[in-house]
C-alpha cells in the first residue's frame, strides 16, 4: 500500500477513506486512527496549546494523551486507541477555540 506498511500475514482488511484536516486519506477499517495517519507519513497530530509546537503519538496506549484530536466533532479523542472507519473526520486541535461551539447553545 505504501512505504510505511509492513508485510503482514494478517487476513485481508477493509480499505477505507477518511479525512485529516479535510484532506482525504486511505487506511484500513478498525485500525487506530494514529496508525492510519502514520501509514500516510503523518507524525504530527496536534499542536501544544501553550507553545504551539507539534505533537504526535508517544506512548501508543492511551496514557500520555499526546495524540489527541477532534474526531467526528468530539474533541480530545485519543487517536492511538480509537478505531478508524469509512468517512471518519479527524481535525488537529491547534489550540482549543470556541469556534464551533460558541454560538451553538443547543
Amino acid at each position: 500500500m505504501n512505504a510505511y506498511r509492513l508485510d503482514s500475514s494478517e487476513k485481508k482488511r477493509e480499505p477505507i477513506e477518511f479525512y485529516f484536516n479535510n484532506k482525504k486519506l486511505s487506511g484500513y477499517d478498525g485500525e487506530p486512527i494514529a496508525v492510519s495517519l502514520l501509514a500516510n507519513g503523518i507524525q504530527t497530530i496536534r499542536t501544544c496549546e501553550v507553545t504551539g509546537e507539534g505533537r504526535g503519538v508517544f506512548c501508543g496506549i492511551g496514557h500520555c494523551y499526546e495524540c489527541r484530536a477532534e474526531v467526528d466533532g468530539v474533541a480530545n479523542v485519543r487517536t492511538c486507541l480509537t478505531p478508524n472507519h469509512q468517512g471518519t473526520k479527524v481535525i488537529s486541535p491547534r489550540s482549543f477555540t470556541i469556534r464551533e461551539t460558541l454560538n451553538d447553545d443547543s
Binding site: 496549546e49 501553550v50 480530545n76 482549543f96 477555540t97 470556541i98 461551539t101 460558541l102 447553545d105
Partner: protein, 391 residues
Amino acid sequence: MSYKVIVVGGGLIGSSTAYYLAKFGAEVTLVDAKDIASGTSGACDRAIMLQSKKPGPTLDLAIQSASVYETLEEELEADLEYNKAGGMIVIETEEELKAMEEMVERQQKAGIGVRLISGEEARERQPALSKNIIASTWWDQDAECNPLHVSFAYANAARRLGAELKLRSPVTGFLREKDRIVGVQLNNEKVYADAVVLAMGVWTPLLLEQLDIELPITPRRGQILVTEQLDKVMHGNVLSAAYIANKLRRNQGKQAEDPYGIGLAIGQTHSGQLLIGGSRQFAGYETDTDPEVTRKIAEVAVRAFPMLANVRIIRTFTGLRPYTPDGMPVLGPVPGMEGIFVAAGHEGDGIALAPISGKVMANVACGEDPGIDIRPFSMDRFQEPVTPKGK
C-alpha cells in the same frame, strides 16, 4: 525584648497574620503541621469577589481587604497572579433574579458598584455564556489571584522580616499557666510566646478541644474540577446565583433539596486551566471526591457555558471550607483565656479576607487597636456563653 507571637496554621490567614506581625516588629514563629497552604488554601478557587459577600460587617471587612490587594504584589515583592478582571453572578430564573436584585441593592448601599445587566450584555462580556442566562450582575472591580502564591508570598515576606517557619510540626498541645496560654508543644520541643494565634481553619476547633473550649466551625466539603489548558475563554470570575444561595444558606445538616449544594463558581488560571466549583457538603473531615458531584458540577457548568461539553476534565479535588453558623469569620481573643486568639471560620471568603484578617489579628494579638470594630466577629457571639472548664 520584643513581643513573641506563635501563629499556628500556614494557610492564607495564618501566613498573612505572621507577615503583619513581623512587620510590626514582633518575634514571630509560624507553625504548620504540614506546609504552607497545604489545607484549604491549597484546595480552593481564585476569586477575590466582593459582590459574593454577605452585606454587613463581612462585606465592610472585604472592602478594606480588597484595597490591600491592589498594592500587595509590590509590598510582598511577589507575583500573586492578581488581576482585576471583574466578576459576575449569572442568573437563570426569575426567582433568582428577584433574590439577586435585593442583594445588589444592599451591596450598592454598602458602597460597591455592582449592577445588574441583561443577558445580552452578560454575553458581550462573557461570549461563551449560554443563552439560558437571563441576566447577570457585573462589577469591574472584582478581582482574582492565585491563593497558593498569596500564602507563600506572605510566608516568605514574613521570613524576610525575621519570622521563623516551623513546617511539618504539628502542635500537640498548649503550654499553660492557669488561665494563660504561654506557648505550644510541638513534637519534640516547647515554644514559648506572649500570644498564640490559631489560624487553622477547619482544624481550629480540634485543637481548642484540648482546652475544653467549643468553637462552632464545621468543615464543609467543596469539590472543584480542573480542565485542560484552554485559550482565554473566561473573563474574570463567574458565579451562579445558586452558588450564592448555597453559600448563604445556614442550615447545617439540612440540605434536603440539594444534598450536594451545587452552585457554579468558575475562573481561569494563568496557565489556562479552568477551575470549576463547586459543591458544599457537610461530610466531616473526609476529603474524598465524589463522582456524582463531579457529574453534577459538570452539568451545571455546561448549562451555563455550553462549549464546556467539549472540554476535558483532567482532575478533581476537594477542600474543606470552615463553616460558621452565621457565615462570618471568627477574629479575636478566646474568651476566658489569656494569650490565645482565633482567626478562622472564613468559609468561602478566605481569599478575599486574608489581608485584612492578618492585619486585624496582628494588632489584636499585640494588644493594639485594630481600627475596626471586631465585636461582630468575636467568639462569644455564638449562642451559649463559652467558658473554659480549666483542668
